[in-house]
Amino acid sequence: MINFQYVRATDVADAVHRIAADPAATFIAGGSNLIDLMKYDVERPSRLIDITRLPLKSVEETADGGLRIGALVSNSDLAYHPLIAARYPLLASAILAGASAQLRNMASTGGNLLQRTRCYYFYDTATPCNKREPGSGCSAISGLNRMHAILGTSEACIATHPSDMCVALAALDARVHAAGPAGARTIAFSDFHRLPENTPERDTNLQPNEIVTAVELPARGFAANYTYLKIRDRLSYAFALVSVAAALELQGDTIIEARLALGGVAHKPWRDPTAEAALREQAPSQATFNRAADVFLRDAKAFGHNAFKINLAHRAIVRALIQAAAGTPQSQSDKKIR
């Protein structure tokens, strides 16, 4: 870890002012990813701006029936919040599928959005990595890539976004509220994270001088028919190989709205409007779900070690849709997949 200065921001305007004054500074909230990356010399901020004392810790109902979640609400407070548990159980389930109880107590909502890939080469400063050192090359494409992406990759980067929470937020059409020198703005969740293309060093479309202030959920919560199905190498406290957030709205025996987002397969939570369209106006059935999974994975591309992910993702999508349609969401403590 290199030397750094430490300051506390007093309010959002002060935080924005301080980050604008020092381009090498970074915000710190939970620190559960940033401090780890600093220990590995992957992140080398000149200054940490501590935002943990800002008043961004509430969950409030919005006028249109949704919720506004302050950026500093901890992952555990969010997962166990009565309104989240009742109205957005998909989000609660996804959060509880991630990390450990200790880390969920530390990690913030905004920080979860901004966590960085767990690609081994990104962490290993002895190896080339375009995300860490632009232009140095990608070690994963021809290296060990069992955990890597199968959708939306580029020749520069095949890293995945590691969050579980963000997969549910993507499925729920959340919006991200940000503040910067030019004022406040709202970013659709699908526009928040980026694909690697030729600039894998940029994970999100948040500007370097902006701060996440809140995440807003629209009213539609899919509380009756949802599941978060996470497949990983051990049953808990491991990142997803493939995860599926599935949410359906049924009218009688017809799917009238469908959401499908995958984690562990791309540089961002992956949604596919065509696959979701293939589910709408259909009766829930294995054949329908198979077709949707075919569509979802039509452009999937593997890099050797991660070839198994394409088949695994297909099966996980079908299984998750069966769980969602049946109203039997995956338990995050009983790990049997039914």
Binding site: Y6, A99, Q102
Partner: protein, 169 residues
């Protein structure tokens, strides 16, 4: 600390040590620490509270678990300076007088450790788990204790010890 600045990167001047107050196991402790000092290092190296263990130092093992404001967190991924003014409970703060905390006694009763290195973290984590009140079944205890790795594999006995302590609380 090695100077890692290069010709192209401005060198950050070494920061002043920052005065902070931690209330550790009920006792106010004044410290002056460099900002990069983890809460774990502050406890072990500056306050000589070596009960809290450094396992991986990267948030993957849970050996460094302590309670901050009553909630279990990883002290290795926490900067001490960010916890200024906070109440911290470590394994040294659990026994009252000469009497072990019921969780400590339960770990002995159930032989819930072999080498013991993960045990302070396991017990502090279990303190947090019981306070949270989310775990009822053995299955839920296992899931909500998954942040504490035991390489000796004492998990069944750890679950039994926690169940015993839960029955007493």
């Amino acid at each position: 600390m090695a100077q890692t600045g290069t010709a192209t990167k401005p060198i950050t001047p070494a920061p002043e040590n920052i005065p902070i107050l931690l209330i550790v196991n009920g006792v106010e402790r004044q410290l002056r620490l460099a900002p990069w000092t983890s809460l774990l290092d502050a406890l072990r190296n500056h306050l000589d509270l070596t009960g809290t263990k450094k396992g991986c130092d990267h948030g993957q093992c849970g050996a460094c678990t302590v309670l901050v404001e009553g909630r279990r967190i990883l002290s290795c991924l926490s900067l001490a300076v960010m916890k200024d003014g906070a109440h911290v409970t470590t394994i040294e703060g659990l026994a009252q007088g000469g009497a072990l905390h019921p969780l400590q006694q339960a770990f002995i009763d159930h032989d819930a450790f072999q080498c013991g290195y993960c045990t302070p973290g396991q017990i502090c984590s279990a303190m947090g788990l019981i306070a949270e009140g989310r775990a009822k079944s053995a299955e839920e205890i296992r899931e909500l204790m998954s942040g504490n790795i035991c390489r000796c594999g004492a998990y069944p006995n750890i679950v039994a010890a926690i169940q015993q302590a839960m029955g007493q609380s």
